[in-house]
Amino acid sequence: MTGNDAVLALMVATALGFDFTNGFHDTGNAMATSIVTGALPPRVAVAVSAVLNLVGAFLSTAVAATIANGLVATGEVTLTVVCAGLTGSILWNLATWYLGIPSSSSHALIGGVIGATVAAAGFSAVKWQGLVSKVIVPAALSPFIAGAVAAAGTVLVYRFTRGVPEGPRGRGFRYGQVGSASMVSLAHGTNDAQKTMGVITLALIANGTLPAGSKAPDWVILSCALAIALGTWIGGWRVIRALGKGLVEIEPPQGMAAESASAAVILSSTDFGYSLSTTHVATGSILGSGLGRSGARVRWQLARRMVAAWLLTLPAAALVGAVAYWVANGIGGTAGVVVIFVALVLASVTLFVASRYPAVTPENVNAAWTGTVAPEPTRTDEVSR
């Protein structure tokens, strides 16, 4: 195995690692509202979402192209750039997951790759117009559009079911929620799994392994689909809890309105080639469903914290990606890539261990929101364990 093969293997491992974090970071986008209203038991919800992500990953390859061609000058991309960029993406994703912030995995990916590209080849290697029109403008608008759709849906749904008693209404909308949340999971698979496939394909072309203009090879599609599904199945309970319990108390009709709005906005934008952030859309929808129900209390402080994290995601992931590139390039060659890979693994393990104390699990994910991501351990928790 030559040095280049080793770097190639590390690049694929890092990309699949990112895809895995993408899965568990974003489980909440699809399933948070169904989990908190009891439409699906937590473990069943993440399993359903995982299967639909897997299916979705095979359905369409529309979005991958934007990531691969629209944002950076492909001639400047090397395996080291992709490895460094993905390092930035993963670290930002893990840090926000630890803090229970539903930040955008897509922005983390794009930010990391752009940061590493700038570090390697300067600012002119980035297609700024593509970045603004395909990423930043949609990111700024999509939460508002999704929020408005969700608010309208919530108002209508409560209006039409005004005379329906609590029992049948809750049951009916829980069924509806299963359907709408499944659509969001499927849309997530068609969008987010594609992004990692795009990056791996880009790197393989840059390395000369694949001829220019190739589509993602079968093994890339299969491994990306499995990585995102596995991540989804693990379940990002910290983010699920923040989205489902933290922002606003969600009733089944609201949950269905929010998920339908998310699915509709993501799918209609995919048709225009926008790689929207599922996270921004889902958060906007949940907030909108809170605004649409009279008497629902929205925790704006938490919402502001999330928006601050969204604004930081691109630059922060870019910065980490750039630093990772400088380190890898400074050491040079295969050794440089190995060093950032080892540093990435160590940082990931540290954050994972930190997240266990105290942990958010399927058992306590629905505990009452007291202002913290991890619920206070209670006596009953100790006994039941």
């Binding site: 029109s133 909308f173 339908s260 509709a264 799918l267």
Partner: protein
């Protein structure tokens, strides 16, 4: 159309989003309403009539429309290249 912001695409997304994202849950709600008719005037709220055959048929139709719309959505994803 401007190359930095595609207004044409945005208003389409808003319209399609509202029709499917808000319209379909509203239809679903209408179906639930038909299955659970309001109590007759002068009767207590607990004494509710059950849905008649007409109500059930209409509700079934509405749910079928919602399912068809979801099927259409899936086919849009599958056929998008």
């Amino acid at each position: 159309m401007n190359s930095w912001i595609n207004l044409d695409a945005i208003w389409r997304i808003v319209v399609v989003g509202l029709l499917t994202g808000a319209g379909l849950p509203a239809l679903f709600a209408l179906g639930l309403r038909l299955l659970n008719p309001a109590p007759l005037p002068g009767r207590p709220a607990t004494d509710r009539p059950t849905a008649g055959p007409l109500g059930r048929t209409l509700a079934g139709l509405i749910f079928a429309v919602v399912l068809a719309a979801i099927g259409w959505g899936v086919s849009v994803i599958v056929n998008h290249r």
